[in-house]
Amino acid sequence: MKNKVITKERLLLALIFFFMVGFKLYTVYKNQYFNLKDDTGMFWTESALQQRSARIVAATGQLPVLDKEAQYPEGLAYKSRLTTLMEIVSGYIYRLFIPKQVPFHFFLIIFISMWSSLSLIPLYLSVHLVTENKVSGLLACIFYALTPAIYITVTAPAFELQDFALPLIFTHLYFFIRAMKSSVPLKYSYAMLSGVFLLTALSSWHLTQFYYAIFVLFIGIVLFFEPRTDTKTFYIITVISFLGGFLIPVMRTAGFLFSFSMLMSYGIIISTLLPVKKYSIKRASLLLFICITAITTIFIVTERIPEYRFVYGLMFEKIRYLGMRPADPSKLSWETLVMWVSPFTSPSVREIALFIGSLMIIGITGVVINIKKLFKKTINVYDAFFLLFTVVFFPLYFLLIRLDVFLVWFLSLQTAYVFSAAKKSIRFLLVLCMLINAFLLFNQPEKILGPNRNYLLGLIYYIRNLTPQKAVVLTSFPFGPSILTYANRAIVLHPKFEAKKMTSKVKLFEHKLFEPEKNFYDYCTAYGADYFVYQADMVMAQGPESIRYRTHNSTINKDCAAYKFHFQPKNLDYFRLLYSNPHYRVYQVTEKDSLEPDIPVEYFRIYDERIVNLNDLNVL
């Protein structure tokens, strides 16, 4: 009888899982730009770069140590700089198990739809573990599956690292709780599983480190209030992470062993191992170590490992300005503004309502129930653990919309507490909330990531067919991967800021655009660019995500390179216009002496300075 019940629940869980996978695939398939026969322009920016890496693995079984095409001329160091685990896993699965008649891009969509839906399993198991109620577990899973936020990235469509790393993080959490609840020797085996899942997540997504910092903070808080807490599980996880810091090249390069989370872990371990019996001294030592960690982290971030500066800098400024950009962009550095773009922006009320829906209300109710338990001192350490994560991810979500996937998982978990506490008569309200979310899910507006597909295809078609195979193309950093992946040409800039020299190259590029043409030409020749792709929004866009905004060029003059690229291509001395559509122009980088007669290109109003209102563009 018991077996039958378990089978029934597993069947229901499998149904929810396949609903999630099916919904993701259906949404991608019905997207007007999804094309089974041709992958050109399917993914955008980082996803396109990741598609290419996975394609290389699938075709050749390996990635180059240094890929000059992906970052010309110095080369992109995949092994030591990028988290390529997702591409390696997906590439090898395709290479070894998938018939080659299945288009690779379609396989990637199936792969990431299935993998990202695996977060459901640790959710069910965690709820089951803490509430010991199977129905609550299924209910939390249904809420999770009906929340639109978890579908956003995959259905964009995108092939994002976070969708690969999140199921690993949640599985680590489940095993951590299980280890805490178990007695020796099972405790150690679960702690090891928790540690290896965390390590796998750390090696597949750089931002896992920020989750890890919160995790360590929780341990610190628990130990501060309850110094007798058993910390062996935490020791094992730290040891595994420490080993990873040595053995995983990307973590070694990023100085993981000296990251905030690791420094804090060392501090916690040392304070618990101090041979003192007085808890007050243990608490004081813990506080002291946290302070030392914070100061050391600030030093490391600002002086030693500049890669961390971008994210920490963004978080600091976001807190400073309460998530709202200041009216005057010159108050913020380029480094902060370049990160303060989607999906690192704050959600609007509309976005919260549309993407989280009624889960927000039910989840908050769960949080309130647990806070009551906390004040009554009836809360156990596991419930407190999930409570802390849910509470911490609220402000983090309001600072960075990308963190919605964490919040949704923890809010779904909180619904289980509501179900357990609610009377039968109130449970119909839960059903109502589910229906609301189902309605929101099935009525989501079609979201298309990236630029206008037709113009993008026009540009890619031109570069792919009408430029030399060995040509090097300079574009803006988000656009580079589309040229690399779909036009198969080397690029100078890409969006992986963790790559060596990339941030300084991007910063220089964006500033040189608004300097005289000769300066921009010198930049192109310094990096060996043969072609430059101009985007109309380099001059036209002035909003908070534009290049003009982040380079503090609210007004520009007619002598700058960008103005000439847009309005006066005939007046350029070092660039020859070859192709034009309303969004993009392709220029050949060429010396003045070698200038040939202008090639006639199509007329578009957007590039006509007699028609465009220059006052609106703040042109001096």
Partner: protein, 174 residues
Amino acid sequence: MNTLIRDYIGSIFIFILLVCAVHLPFGSKPCSIDISYAADNHFKAGLVLLSRDSLTNAAEAFASAITYQPAFAPFHYYLALTYERQGNYERAATEYNAVIKIDPEFYPAYYYLGNLLGNAKEYEQGIGLLRRAVQLNPYYIKAFYALADLYSETGDHTSAEKIFDYLKYIGYEK
């Protein structure tokens, strides 16, 4: 006990697999792979065939390109031109409409479709399309002439005169 051993072995296995995955699949050789896009090949073939007046084969080639990449306006545009040259005006109009739907700024499609409808004596729609073409490109001389011709055919000589005045103003005269 079995669970314990299974979990330990599982953890060690995942750990080893992870370390291998981040170390082994990297080589010093450049790994550029050649990718061929069928849509490009069909389109290029179509352009060659069109220039040789092999219209049936050109139409087939452009139609094949569209099956691979239906969201790209130039594929539909050249198919429409081919159909028009074949005298297959109905299908040409369908393709011009497809171009406009994909790219509402593609002014040559407005011009050719406007002409097509003007020739079919559907003046109102033809004039509307030609007006849109010249709005999108105020230097689109042949579209202005076509528009003036349609105005004249419908008896609206004032509008036709205005167009000629404008052309004179911007430095073009028949």
